[in-house]
Subunit: 199 residues, 2 copies
């Protein structure tokens, strides 16, 4: 019974992620989700209790999916620069899909001024991602790939900016060079982070 309820919840959350990708996280309500999924409003209330709890669950589910598809596989790459590269490459494929990636990014700008549990869940997810990037840079320093005077948090800031710019170029402006620009920008960031060859 508990397992089947867990599976139901998982399916509902998948639908909710897709639905939120269309209407935005602020637009996600139990009533709207009921209509979109043909599930009963009372059943959804039984699962989530409130619109706010639904939003938090959707952010957590989208973050988990992101970790499963991007972070976890990338952490299997060798420590140092190869792992940084895998984090970027997997993020890039993720970002170019029409998937949960955009919910989290969109919500980062949607909810930045709206205090509450949804915002808190999003801040946690964002911090985890920035920490993952900074930690990968730190390991690349220890492995002797990146310069010792590189600030790992600055590296995460720059890499995250590159990702946000790719998002806008690809999805809003529909710049046909977005993908190539992202790759070139990442190459420049790597080159600037590496220990320069001794002359």
């Amino acid at each position: 019974m508990a397992r089947s309820s867990e599976a139901t919840r998982h399916n509902i959350l998948s639908c909710a992620i897709d639905h939120a990708a269309k209407v935005g996280l602020s637009g996600l309500t139990i009533g709207g989700l009921a209509e979109a999924t043909h599930l009963s409003k009372s059943g959804l209330f039984a699962h989530f209790g409130s619109k706010e709890a639904l939003q938090v669950s959707v952010i957590e589910a989208a973050s988990e999916r992101f970790v499963e598809e991007v972070v976890r596989p990338a952490l299997k790459a060798p420590r140092g620069e190869p792992r940084v590269v895998q984090l970027f490459e997997r993020w890039l494929s993720w970002a170019l899909q029409q998937s949960a990636g955009c919910i989290l990014t969109a919500a980062s700008f949607e909810l930045d001024d709206q205090p509450g549990p949804a915002r808190e869940a999003l801040v946690k997810s964002e911090r985890d991602w920035l920490d993952t990037l900074a930690q990968a840079a730190r390991i690349a320093q220890r492995e002797g790939h990146f310069r010792a005077d590189l600030d790992p948090e600055d590296f995460a800031f720059d890499l995250h900016g590159l990702m946000l710019s790719t998002h806008t170029a690809a999805r809003l402006v529909r710049d046909p060079s977005a993908y190539d620009r992202a790759k070139r920008s990442f190459s420049r960031l790597l080159a600037a982070s590496r220990i320069p060859p001794t002359p």
Copy 2:
């Protein structure tokens, strides 16, 4: 009469920008704006005609404000690197205010998948801004400040990314170092864009 109607419209749009900063551009409706501003719904309908036309007017008004406060004063700086610096500095002060800047940025992620006139207005505003940044880089090349092999559109892509990352760091994560990180990241971008000193 025409002038007074123009002034009224201007005032309404100022309120609408503030209101959209709270509810998001998708959440902006004539009914909601009427409630927030204590103006009559029929009066607002007379001014804008539809929710969609209201959203387009708000995007255009916010873009105009951005051009007035950021772009136009920066264009008074000397051509080349000083102008690029002014564009960045003025953007940074703008971004750190609780103002229309966040409407345009938030809407870029909110509306990227929602076809329609609001999205078109936003794409135009975004393209203008990226073109302004690329053009400033191009002039810096002509003035002999930036490397001839720099791709001005890549420069705009990187600078825009830095700005989006600053937005997230300052407004979502509330990183107390967001401002300093943005400054350092901009210095790195400038250093990488300049003609290297001959050894």
